[in-house]
């Protein structure tokens, strides 16, 4: 047969192939050559690759009207109509820069993102497990970033002169109520959510998106992992308990579950504690996650978490330390969410979700029982549209409905008295992001919130700008107005209280080069409509409180200069005052410290397969109220200082031995002072320090992972 084809082919090539020579030059809009651009005659093999000077040259046998397509990495595709008629054709093509290229400017004011995918992040997901002193607590790690103030007796995130409750946690965009576990009075609480669940974290210290509301100071947005790829069982044996987890992978779905039992009693027998425990905390906690891929782009995520914590301790009277009362705590918590996201077509994307939170504190002091219960449902629907590569629009609406109730024995009547409120907040929002060029981007948003309790409709505008003058550094600005319902304990007394409000102005400069980050940020924050007491007990309230915070923050991170070493240094300066609650005049709140400084150091020693981490933290003294001093909040605690270390040793690919210890310097940190309610006979008030529950916290654990693949361990899960 071949003898037939060969002449036919020859014949064909001889007749049809009259050639047109196409040559020219590919440049960017400034006329600079673009080497390696791909020039192609559409639907043919013919084309060329541009040389270093942007020129190209090829011949084609195609004739008539054709389309020449030019593509290059980092530039948008360009098509040119050409007419080929066996002669020479010369043309030059200018390509526009692709706005979505990796060097494009991004809005960075007020936010820190952690993740493995986005390379322009300050923090990595793994940092949460490996930062010494953070004890694998999300808030603990974020406390080493600028913008946060250390409040040792709380454990919550206090951001830029804001109270701990002004930071709101979201999981996959869904609100979490009561995101911290219940701890004994004046001891730090931990976040309820284990860091291993999340692939990325965005911690915003201000100026955040219109999608997030009900947070005055800060939004902590946690993004859970997608479908797992490995079936595995994890076992952890800890000095304070044990946990077991399992992940099962199916074709298009994965399921995982974890049960953790914490019993701190044996540890407290060994290490002296400041608190007078009757029964130290015992907790059981379980979580489960299910992921299902739907169709080509859909993903359904279900997550659930429950926990129960019990403890009892003696509360000693301040003036007469020998007189004590027994306090019993039983906390029950449940959280669940379902989130579904899908691309509707190439331009539209849809996200929807619903979450449920339940938290109950059942407290008994001696024989007097008290209950506090909060339940909430949050539902949300968001649409995202990319009109072009320059304009992105996002809009949606959410409803947060929650109920809070508390009951206690009224000492006068000896009856149980209950109060409650039900709040419903409906909030539509819209946000548009537009790139003028890859150097300049603006984002504007508006959030409207209707609250049934005070029957108000609020408008909260948000605006951000970012500009990148050169190749690396960029400036960013953000403005936003934020509101948050007053604390439950106040709303339950007076349900028509207005929302508390804040305005943020943020200016930021950041430069991220290959594994080095420098960032400096300054801000001004104005608080208004804060809750204020009209009587000494806070039974009568209004919204005339106000305040401000301003400051300067710096972070430097370097994973490059020293081999196998990664470190960061952060500093925050804070100037804040407020006049709210029972304050007689404007004063620095007791949770605010002027200077905060952290150094985090991590070193992987290959020879012994061990990662060593050291963290140093410093906070200047905080104000406290001393009734013996006529000026309100005019006393200062000594400064706070902590040096913590941890190490993770990997004897085998599937075993990790972890040890950590806080406060290696053995400093007696004082967080504040408490005073008796009434003066002594000499007219003075007796005080008592609020201090660390123990000098050190030591922790040892062994984590074992069983899977077919022996290289998988729990390091990212710690």
């Amino acid at each position: 047969m071949n003898w037939i084809f060969t002449p036919l082919l020859l014949f064909a090539s001889g007749v049809v192939y009259a050639q047109t020579i196409i040559s020219g030059k590919i440049t960017d809009v400034k006329g600079e050559p673009i080497p390696a651009a791909n020039i192609v005659l559409k639907d043919s093999y013919d084309g060329a690759t541009a040389l270093a000077d942007g020129t190209f040259n090829f011949s084609t046998s195609e004739t008539g009207a054709q389309t020449l397509v030019v593509t290059s990495i980092g530039y948008t595709k360009s098509s040119v109509n050409v007419n080929l008629n066996d002669t020479k054709l010369t043309l030059s093509v200018r390509l526009k820069e692709d706005i979505n290229n990796l060097d494009a400017v991004v809005i960075s004011a007020g936010s820190f993102t952690a993740g493995d995918e986005n390379r322009k992040t300050v923090l990595k997901a793994l940092d949460i497990a490996t930062t010494a002193g953070a004890t694998a607590d999300i808030a603990g790690v974020l406390n080493t970033l600028p913008g946060t103030q250390k409040v040792g007796e709380s454990g919550k995130l206090f951001v830029r002169g804001g109270d701990g409750n002004e930071t709101r946690t979201f999981i996959d965009g869904m609100v979490v109520l009561d995101a911290y576990n219940s701890s004994a009075p004046n001891t730090p609480s931990r976040g309820r959510f284990l860091p291993f669940m999340f692939k990325g974290t965005s911690f915003s210290t201000g100026g955040y998106s219109a999608e997030y509301g009900q947070a005055l100071s800060s939004a902590l947005v946690l993004n859970s992992k997608d479908k797992s790829d490995i079936t595995q069982t994890d076992i952890g044996i800890l000095s304070v308990g044990a946990d077991v987890g399992h992940t099962q992978v199916m074709d298009r779905a994965s399921w995982s579950g974890k049960i953790q039992y914490t019993d701190i009693r044996p540890y407290y027998h060994l290490i002296n504690q400041v608190l007078d425990w009757k029964t130290p905390p015992v907790a059981i906690e379980g979580s489960s996650a299910y992921r299902q891929q739907v169709g080509k782009t859909g993903l359904l995520k279900l997550y659930g978490n429950f926990s129960n914590t019990k403890y009892s301790l003696f509360l000693h009277d301040i003036a007469e330390p020998t007189s004590k009362q027994l306090m019993n705590m039983n906390n029950s918590y449940g959280y669940g969410n379902a989130v579904y996201q899908q691309a509707l077509n190439s331009k539209w994307n849809m996200r929807s979700g619903v979450s449920y939170s339940y938290n109950q504190n059942a407290v008994r002091i001696e024989d007097a029982p008290m209950h506090q219960t909060e339940k909430g449902i949050h539902s949300k629907l968001v649409f995202e549209n990319s009109l072009s590569d320059k304009i992105e629009t996002r809009f949606g609406a959410e409803v947060i409905s929650r109920q809070y109730s508390e009951s206690k024995i009224d000492s006068a009547s000896d009856y149980t008295v209950g109060h409650s409120f039900t709040e419903a907040i409906a909030a539509p929002f819209v946000e548009v992001q537009a790139y003028a060029s890859s150097k300049l981007v603006a984002k504007g948003g508006l959030r409207m919130e209707y609250d049934n309790l005070n029957n108000t409709l609020g408008f909260d505008p948000r605006l951000s700008l970012a500009y990148k003058p050169g190749n690396q550094g960029q400036f960013s600005f953000a403005y936003g107005k934020f509101r948050q319902s007053a604390k439950n304990i106040y709303v339950v007394n007076q349900s028509d209280l207005a929302s508390e409000k804040a305005e943020h102005f943020i200016l930021n400069y950041q430069i991220i080069t290959n594994q080095r980050t420098f960032r400096i940020e300054t801000y001004y924050k104005r608080y208004f409509s804060l809750v204020r007491f009209l009587d000494s007990n806070g039974d009568k309230l209004n919204n005339t409180g106000f305040g401000y915070a301003k400051g300067l923050e710096v972070i430097w991170r370097d994973s490059k200069s020293i081999d196998k070493v990664d470190y960061w240094v952060s500093y925050s300066y804070l100037d804040t005052k407020r006049n709210y609650l029972n304050y007689p005049s404007s004063a620095i709140p007791s949770f605010a410290s002027r200077h905060n400084f952290s150094v985090v150091y991590k070193h992987f020693i290959t020879a012994v397969k061990t990662q060593v981490g050291v963290t140093y933290s410093y906070s200047s003294g905080r104000p406290y109220y001393n009734p013996n001093n006529p000026t309100f909040n005019n006393d200062r605690t000594p400064f706070y200082q902590d040096l913590s270390a941890n190490l993770s040793f990997l004897p085998k690919g599937w075993i990790i031995i972890h040890a950590s210890c806080t406060n290696l310097l053995g400093r007696n940190n004082i967080f504040g002072y408490q005073y008796g309610a009434s003066p002594n006979s000499d007219g003075s008030y007796t005080g008592r320090t609020i201090t660390q529950p123990a000098k050190h916290f030591m922790f040892i654990a062994v984590f074992i992972t069983l899977s077919k693949n022996k290289t998988v361990n729990q390091l990212p899960n710690l």
Binding site: I4, F5, L8, L9, A12, P35, A36, N38, V40, K42, D43, S44, Y45, D46, G47, A48, T49, A52, T71, I73, L102, D116, R119, K124, A125, L126, S228, D229, I230, V249, N514, Q515, F604, K609, Q611, L650, K652, G653, N709, K710, T711, V712, N713, L715, P716
Partner: protein, 211 residues
Amino acid sequence: MKNKIIILLLFVVTSVMADDQKYIQSMAKNIKILYSAKTPEQYQQAINTFDRIGNAEKTKWEPFYYSAFGYLMVANIETDIAKKDQWLDLAAAAVTKAKENSPNESEIIALDGFTQMLRITVDPASRGAKYTGQAMSLYGKAIQLNPENPRALALMAQMQLGAAKFMKTSTTEGCATAANALEKFQTYHPANPIAPMWGKEMTDGLVASCK
């Protein structure tokens, strides 16, 4: 009349064959260029040609497969880790395009795994666990689709040996996979002149390191 029909048929058949011939010839020529490329510029030149062929031949998986392979080779020699990730993004995009035309081709799945494996090298501490899992499960799937695919076995052996070396654990499993891969290379018969041929040298190296 009959003759005319035969001639006409012959002509039709010939032109179809000629098209395929052109595809095979162009591909074979460019595959040679790809295998002999050394610098990112040379790789990019070959990749551009594969992209042109791939955009014209809308039903073939091979052009984008080789584009992806080219980008992986560039990623492999890139020292700036942020740029390395960009090359890997381009490789991943080419893998996706190749999959559109042949979703169950063992060779593409193996290359997908290769992409995930190179992701680890950008930041081993952070990415190790996630991408090790993804790469291993893709290699497993590739071997399941075609147990005779020597490249899937070789890549899996590399992953196993790399992990064993890092953890200073036993290399028995990785060495067994490498030996198996080498065996498959010896019996491997490419289905056509443009079928993937790379990987034997790498496997020789792995087997040698086991001795």
